[in-house]
C-alpha cells in the first residue's frame, strides 16, 4: 500500500491529537479572552472542538492527491461548523471572534507540521497546503453561515417592526385616540394612517387625539409622515389634537415650516384628552363619593 501523501498530518492527528486539541483550546481561549466568560461554556467548547478535530482528521485521511476535493453543505463538518457559527451570531459574537475559532487550529497545525517535517521541505509544503486549503474553506463556511444568520435576524426584526400594531382606540363617542409607539417608517406610517382613516369614518369621529410620546426619534421623515396623517384626518372633517411632542419634535416641525392651523397641540395626553372632551362639550367632574 502506497504511503498516503499527507502521512505526516495523519500521524500528527492520530498520535498527538490530545496535545493538539489542548493547544487549540488554549489558543481559542486566548483569542476570546476579552469576551465575558458567561457567553460561552468551556466544557461544551472542549467537546465541540474534539468532535471537529475528529472530523477534520477524517478529511485529511481522505484528502485527494490532486488537492481538489468537494464538500457540499451536507458534509458533517460543514453542518457542524454552520450550526456553531449560527449560534455564535445569535449570541452576539463578532464575525472575527467566530472565525478565530477555526483559524486558531491553523496556527496549531502549521507549527506542529513545521516542527515535524523540518528535514523534508517538499512533504512540508504538501501538508501545509492541505491545511491551508481545508481550514480556509472551513473559515469561509463559518463566515457565510454567520452572515446568513445575521441577515435572517435582521429580516425578522424589520418584519416585526412593521407588525408593531398601532391600534386606534375609541376614547369616547366620536373621540378616537391613536397612540404612536416606536420607530415610524413609511410602511408603518401608511398602515396606521389607513387604520385611522377607516376608524374615523366608521365611528364618525369629530376629534382625534394623536399621541407621540412613545416616538423616540422625531426626524424630518417622521414629521412628514405624521403631517400627512394629520392632514388626511382633517380632510375627513375631524379635529386633530396632537400630544406628547418633545422639544426636538417641535424644533423639527418648525424647521420644516409646517403649520397646520387647525391642529391643536398639547403637552401631555392628559391635557389632550381634556381638550378633546371639551371640543365635544364634555367634561370630567368629580362626583360626590358614596363609598367612603
Amino acid at each position: 500500500m502506497p504511503m498516503h501523501h499527507l502521512a505526516a498530518l495523519d500521524r500528527l492527528l492520530s498520535e498527538q491529537r490530545t496535545v493538539l486539541h489542548e493547544k487549540w483550546v488554549a489558543e481559542i481561549l486566548t483569542s476570546w479572552s476579552s469576551l465575558l466568560p458567561n457567553t460561552f461554556n468551556v466544557g461544551e467548547m472542549r467537546q465541540h472542538t474534539a468532535h471537529l478535530l475528529e472530523e477534520i482528521a477524517k478529511i485529511f485521511a481522505a484528502y485527494p492527491e490532486s488537492g481538489l476535493w468537494e464538500f457540499g453543505e451536507t458534509h458533517p463538518l460543514v453542518r457542524a461548523m454552520s450550526e456553531f457559527s449560527a449560534s455564535r451570531a445569535i449570541s452576539g459574537f463578532t464575525p472575527t471572534e467566530t472565525a478565530q475559532y477555526v483559524m486558531c487550529l491553523k496556527s496549531v497545525l502549521t507549527l506542529a507540521l513545521i516542527h515535524e517535517l523540518m528535514s523534508s521541505p517538499v512533504e512540508m509544503k504538501v501538508n501545509l497546503a492541505a491545511v491551508e486549503d481545508v481550514i480556509g474553506r472551513l473559515t469561509l463556511v463559518t463566515f457565510s453561515a454567520f452572515v446568513e444568520t445575521r441577515e435572517r435576524v435582521i429580516l425578522q426584526q424589520s418584519a416585526s417592526l412593521v407588525e408593531l400594531s398601532t391600534p386606534v382606540i375609541r376614547l369616547w363617542d366620536h373621540v378616537l385616540l391613536l397612540p404612536l409607539v416606536g420607530v415610524i417608517d413609511t410602511a408603518r406610517a401608511r398602515k396606521f394612517t389607513e387604520n385611522l382613516l377607516e376608524a374615523i369614518t366608521r365611528y364618525e369621529a369629530s376629534v382625534t387625539v394623536i399621541d407621540v410620546t412613545g416616538v423616540p426619534v422625531f426626524d424630518i421623515s417622521v414629521a412628514r409622515h405624521l403631517m400627512k396623517t394629520v392632514d388626511a384626518a382633517q380632510l375627513l372633517g375631524t379635529r386633530v389634537v396632537m400630544t406628547g411632542l418633545n422639544p426636538e419634535g417641535a424644533l423639527t416641525l418648525t424647521k420644516l415650516g409646517i403649520s397646520l392651523p387647525n391642529m391643536i397641540t398639547r403637552a401631555t395626553l392628559r391635557s389632550g384628552v381634556a381638550e378633546a372632551l371639551s371640543l365635544i362639550n364634555r367634561r370630567i367632574v368629580p362626583v360626590a363619593s358614596s363609598r367612603a
Partner: protein
Amino acid sequence: MKIAIPRLGRILLVAIQQDLSDDEALAFQSNLLGTIAEIEALGVVVDISALDVVDSFMARVINDTANMARLLGAEVIVCGIQPFVAFTLVEMGRGLLSADCTFNLEQGLKTLQSRIASRGDYSLPDEHDDLII
C-alpha cells in the same frame, strides 16, 4: 449671557434685556423650550421692551420659538415692542413676527390668562396648579 426664566404657576415669563448674539439667541430658544416641556407650561410671555433693535434673525428666532412653544402646548404672547422696532419689523415684512403682541407685560398676562382659561385642559378637576390671576 443667560436669560432667567421665572415661573408664575404654569406660566413662564421671559424678559430679553439686551441684544443677543445669534448663538445666545439659539441657546435661549432651546433653554426656553426645555423649560416649557419640563413644567408643561400653559403659557409664555416674552417681554422685549428692552430691545431697541430687532434684526430679521432675532425676529425669526422669536417667531420660531413661539411656534415651537405652541407645538408643546403653550400659548405665547410677545409684549413691549418699541415703536421704532415695530416700524423696522413692518419695513422688513410683517410676516416676520406673527406671534400675538400686546402693549405691556400686564396686558400680556391678562390676554394669556383669558386664553388659557378658555382651553379645555385648564379646567381639569384635579388641577392644583394655581394660575396667578
